[in-house]
């Protein structure tokens, strides 16, 4: 674990912070979006904002799989779980996410639905093998990082002719979300989203590579620094963005060279394209409908697609109207701008998905940063 220590070293952090202070132009503001919920979490967990000058502001992005899942998709999962003979295998976080009409997977479980918490797709596959008389549905969520394991599990199930395994697929694509933030008229009209540069995802980029971001840098003149998840990574990436902005550059720089290449992981990408194809349309919480922004199973694997197998329709649902998650996911608001934050909405009684996942901005603010509000 020497590896971790190296990227959490206090002295290196101090040196980087000093460079950022020295080089950041006091006459301007730097609004940098960390796309990824993993970065949001790390920024709070390590108190990174305490090391930054006041004119560098981190804007929290939509890269939290639990957060961007629209309420209608969660409702679908609840309906699937309640079917006779079904075991729904889900990541633990999803259980607490509020659905429509005060529903949640947790409540469905208490009402008798058989919902099992798993840590990976493989766990779900094992559940299917161990319960041949039951229909096991894996509630798949996540960006490009979690998609390859789902693809491999489906392939394994097909090979083993596992007839009682299927996937409720909610895998979404990072570049589509970034494009939506930069492009969507709804976002621009709000006018609140000024973003000067992006901290690019770590694990997602390991899979897709740095190449997909080149378009954003070129087309929108926004610098990107692909960053690891450790505090030193993040500080280094912020420094890279400050330098690019000072010099008027808009390039894709790769801070996370120890894991990310330009082309990403070819084998993982191949596995994904063997099993999945683009969905014509997918609704995101906060970002609305984005064309070609998510994946579904190819026709050849339709038998493993829970949506088709159980003919479960998507019914859009608004969720709690007072919850500011949608604006937070676009970077237009901060958790503390929500009047429910910390009073009605807490991690124990979440009203929105951003308060559930540890990668959600509201949860990170609440658990790690709420003392700041009192002292300001």
């Amino acid at each position: 674990m020497k590896h971790l220590d190296e990227y959490r070293d206090a002295e290196t952090a101090r040196r980087l912070a000093a460079s950022i202070h020295r080089e950041a132009d006091t006459d301007r503001r730097y609004r940098l979006m960390e796309f990824c919920g993993g970065h949001t979490h790390a920024i709070f967990r390590y108190g990174i904002e305490d090391l930054l000058p006041a004119n560098i502001e981190m804007v929290h992005g939509p890269g939290c799989p639990v957060c961007v899942l629209p309420t209608g998709r969660l409702d679908m999962a609840i309906r699937l779980a309640k079917r006779d003979g079904v075991i729904l295998a889900s990541y633990g976080d999803m259980l607490r996410v509020p659905g429509s009409k005060g529903q949640s997977l947790m409540k469905a479980k208490a009402d008798g639905a058989d919902i099992r918490m798993v840590y990976s797709t493989l766990d779900a596959l094992k559940l299917a093998e161990a319960n041949p008389g039951r229909e096991v549905i894996f509630f798949a969520i996540g960006f490009e990082t979690t998609t390859p394991p789902t693809a491999l599990a489906i392939e394994a199930a097909a090979k083993a002719k596992l007839g009682n395994f299927s996937v409720f697929c909610n895998h979404v694509l990072t570049p589509s979300a970034i494009a939506a933030i930069l492009e969507a008229p709804a976002v621009r009209d709000l006018g609140a989203v000024e973003i000067d540069g992006f901290l690019g995802p770590a694990h997602v980029s390991v899979v897709i590579g740095s190449q997909p971001y080149e378009f954003f840098a070129e087309e929108y003149r926004k610098p990107v620094a692909i960053s690891g998840f450790e505090p030193i990574d993040i500080l280094q990436s912020i420094l890279m963005l400050v330098r690019q902005l000072n010099e008027g550059r808009a390039e894709v720089e790769n801070q996370y060279i120890r894991a990310v290449t330009r082309d990403g992981n070819l084998r993982a990408k191949q596995a994904v394209s063997r099993i999945f194809e683009l969905r014509r349309d997918f609704e995101w919480r906060g970002l609305g409908h984005i064309p070609y922004s998510a994946l579904r199973l190819k026709d050849a694997y339709a038998a493993f697609d829970a949506e088709r197998r159980f003919d479960e329709p998507y019914i859009a649902s608004e969720g709690n109207k007072a919850c500011a998650c949608p604006a937070i996911l676009r970077g237009a608001k901060k958790p503390t701008d929500c009047r429910l934050f910390g009073s009605v909405c807490t991690p124990e009684t979440p009203l929105g998905s951003c308060m559930v996942s540890s990668e959600g901005a509201c949860a990170a603010y609440y658990s790690y940063g709420r003392m700041r509000e009192r002292t300001q």
Partner: protein
């Protein structure tokens, strides 16, 4: 051969500890239950009070304050690196009693066993419980056994209750922390929870992490003998260091400031936590304690802790502050600051 003599012969046959299983007759209050007690529990716990065979244990009441505590154990898996549900059931309750500064004396043990449970496992667990009790110098003086139908319990659940006596002059309670006090911990955080999670079905990864499950009463006895001014003792079990410190802040109406760099976490535990997306400060311990004492006594207390094998890695990790919001703050390793909060409803497996 008549029926009566056949029945008496079968009852005199010893339990099949190699391949036998618990069935419903073992909990029915008849001969079979008697046999289970005689052949498994009594030899394992072996003490005069239990040997008397009454439904209760009788003991002399000593002067001073007595403390009592109870805890139920539903850990899964039943056997894990560093212990099993039996030793855990002894350590857990011994520690709860000891965290008042008391010397634990007696335990009760209640077993809820699922029909079909292997007798070999039951015997192994009872023996481990007996060994843990003897090592901690407490006696299991009364007990109970129930057998429930298959599917109504997960193998075996154990409840233990414990009684102890507080030495004169010792006043330890969660509401006694005062601004300026020093906060100490006896060793590394997160070992037990990670050891359990690593061995849970479906979550098996290469690991050398062993549960820290241990009886802390010997350590506590040394501590209160040398530093009777200790104000708070608590073992950070479920919810880990984070939950326990928040509980103390609420009870004492204070805040805390910690130094992340001072909190020992084993590199393997840290690595496993990264993988599982957990914070080691939220992960359970079963053989560690938190002590809060006046700052002027902190150095002496640290010395006592480090001289004991269970406190070798002890550290002063921070101080109690005056804070109406009762926040636990922590200076992070890289020089930032964050809060340490209770973990909200994370769906962790059964760890104790």
């Amino acid at each position: 051969m008549n029926v009566a003599s056949r029945a008496s012969r079968s009852a005199s046959r010893r339990l099949d500890l190699a391949a036998g299983r618990v069935d419903l007759t073992h909990g029915a209050g008849g001969r079979a239950m008697q046999q289970l007690i005689e052949e498994i529990f009594r030899p394992a716990f072996d003490n005069p009070m239990l040997a008397r065979g009454d439904d209760q244990a009788a003991f002399e009441v000593v002067g001073g304050r007595m403390v009592m505590s109870t805890d139920s154990f539903v850990v899964s898996p039943l056997f894990f690196p560093g212990g099993d549900i039996g030793s855990l059931a002894v350590h857990g309750t011994v520690n709860d009693v000891a965290m008042s500064g008391a010397r634990p004396l007696y335990l009760s043990a209640g077993f809820i066993i699922e029909e079909g449970f292997p007798l070999a496992d039951l015997e192994r667990i009872a023996r481990s419980m007996g060994e843990a009790a003897r090592a901690a110098e407490v006696a299991v003086v009364t007990g109970d056994t129930k057998v429930v139908e298959r599917g109504k319990a997960d193998g075996l659940f154990i409840n233990t209750a414990g009684i102890g006596v507080v030495p004169p002059g010792i006043e330890i309670s969660g509401d006694r922390a005062r601004a300026g006090d020093a906060i100490l911990i006896s060793g590394s955080m997160g070992d037990h929870g990670v050891a359990i999670m690593a061995h849970r079905a479906g979550l098996e990864f290469e690991t050398t992490i062993v549960s820290d499950s241990a009886a802390l009463n010997g350590l506590v006895a040394d501590m209160v003998a040398s530093v009777p001014t200790i104000r708070v003792l608590r073992d950070p079990t479920r919810g880990g260091l984070a939950a326990t410190l928040n509980e103390i802040c609420h009870q004492s109406a204070v805040g805390m400031r910690l130094d992340e760099a001072a909190i020992p976490v084993r590199p393997e535990v840290l690595g496993a936590c990264e993988l599982l997306g957990l914070d080691p400060l939220n992960v359970a311990n079963e053989g560690k304690l938190i002590a809060i004492a006046p700052a002027e006594d902190a150095g002496r207390l640290l010395g006592v802790l480090r001289r004991h094998p269970l406190g070798r890695d002890a550290m002063v990790i921070g101080e109690v502050t005056a804070d109406p919001a009762r926040f636990v703050r922590m200076a992070t390793r890289i020089g930032g600051e964050r809060m340490i909060d209770w973990l909200a409803g994370e769906q962790l497996p059964r760890i104790c």
